[in-house]
Amino acid sequence: MAEYEQHDHDHIEHDHMTIPKYIGIFLVLVVGTILTYFAATVDLDFIFPGANTLVALLIAFTKMTCVMLFFMHVYWSPRMIWLSAVASFFWLAIMFSYTMQDYLTRDPGVFSP
């Protein structure tokens, strides 16, 4: 019974990232941070009110995606990990949207100015 001989194939693959790739992702994150700062100093309200926040969040989401996919190796992870990561944002979205659909639709009155 030599069923464990082929153990090498059981490993989760981990040889995808190299040092230049890590540094590349790092540079993307640094550029994103600088971009966030300068985008915040420009008044984008002429597009629509709150455009600055949207831009800031878009950059933050891009940075987060880079960190998750490559630093946290989600890109090469089993489906279950993908599911966990995506599901957590799905639950967050439910929490945000259900909370806000309450607060944003209250008439002025007892519970809300």
Binding site: M1, A2, Y4, H7, H9, D10, H11, I12, H14, D15, M17, I19, Y22, I23, I25, F26, L29, V30, T33, T36, Y37, A40, T41, D43, L44, D45, P49, N52, T53, A56, L57, I59, A60, K63, M64, V67, M68, F70, F71, M72, H73, S77, P78, M80, I81, S84, A85, S88, F89, W91, L92, M95, F96, T99, M100, Y103, L104, P108, S112, P113
Partner: protein, 294 residues
């Protein structure tokens, strides 16, 4: 490292395989899924605070912008960069663990710890500044500044603030939360974009009420301290984790065959980094585009 008994002598055992798992693949997958479940609940945990932020900011955007503009975006930005570098060194720790390179692992863990400590040091500078300027939203937790006996009373309306003037040290004998600048309320009123909540929340008898505005800015500082404080607590836990990792890596326990503790600590560290990636623009930069009402 596991030390399981020699049961099946015909079975090959990986040196890092714990006895309850069939093989390394199953072990690694179980470990990562466990860690991800923890991270998912951490996301929900911080998510509650982000929800509070969302609710209050949608009601009182001007108070949030005013409070945010008083935070120092330089320190916040520097800390973002420090955390990103620490994330890189953490990722490289995992890389060197997978390459069974003990010395580089130890160096990278030490660098990660150094950057983590730098982050907390900068945070201390910021918190001290808030303490000195009466911006901690709890009475008595601010620096107590004695009232001068013949202090001139401020007669100007609270929205006429000269932002180029040197900062005045307001007397604060009881260490209360202080806020005197309503210029953003005036601006929003003049340009007509106060929210319904703001039209009630900042005004008394049709006049801007400095005290009512202060209480809304205070909500921002509550959220600022709870969110960054909780994040800093995670950094401290992360540093403890790194200390343990350093000891185990120093002994040369991690190799190509067994590196999951490094990888899992890395997931935690990157998660804390991601939280900061969102905290930085949401807390430090949200009102920068109309800084000081100008």
């Amino acid at each position: 490292m596991s030390s399981h008994s020699e049961t099946g002598k015909f079975h090959y055992h990986e040196p890092g395989l714990q006895h309850q798992f069939e093989d390394m693949g199953q072990q690694e997958e179980s470990v990562s899924i466990g860690m991800w479940m923890f991270l998912v609940q951490e996301i929900m945990f911080f998510g509650g605070l982000f929800t509070a932020y969302l609710v209050f900011r949608s009601k009182y955007p001007m108070a949030f912008a005013a409070g945010s503009n008083h935070l120092d975006a330089f320190w916040g930005g520097l800390n973002t960069l420090v955390l990103i570098v620490s994330s890189l060194t953490m990722a490289l720790t995992v890389y060197y663990a997978q390459k069974s390179n003990r010395n580089m692992q130890v160096i990278m863990i030490l660098l990660t710890m150094a950057f983590g400590a730098t982050f907390l040091g900068v945070k201390t500078i910021e918190y001290r500044d808030k303490f000195n300027h009466g911006l901690v939203p709890v009475q008595g937790w601010n620096k107590r500044i004695k009232a001068e006996t013949n202090a001139e009373h401020e007669t100007k309306p609270c929205w006429e603030v000269d932002h180029n003037a040197p900062a005045i040290e307001h007397p604060n004998p009881r260490g209360e939360f202080q806020w005197t600048d309503c210029s953003l309320v005036k601006k929003a009123q003049d340009e007509g974009y106060l929210t319904n909540a703001e039209k009630i929340g900042y005004f008394s008898n049709g006049e801007i009420d400095a005290n009512k505005f202060r209480d809304k800015v205070r909500i921002f500082y509550y959220l600022y301290f709870v969110m960054t404080g909780l994040h800093a607590l995670h950094m401290i836990v992360g540093l403890a984790l790194m200390t343990w990792l350093l000891i185990v890596a120093w002994r040369g326990s991690f190799s190509e065959d067994y590196y999951m503790p490094v990888e899992m600590s890395g997931l935690y560290w990157h998660f804390v980094d991601i939280v900061w990636i969102f905290l930085f623009p949401l807390l430090y930069l949200l009102g920068r585009h109309f800084m000081h009402g100008g």
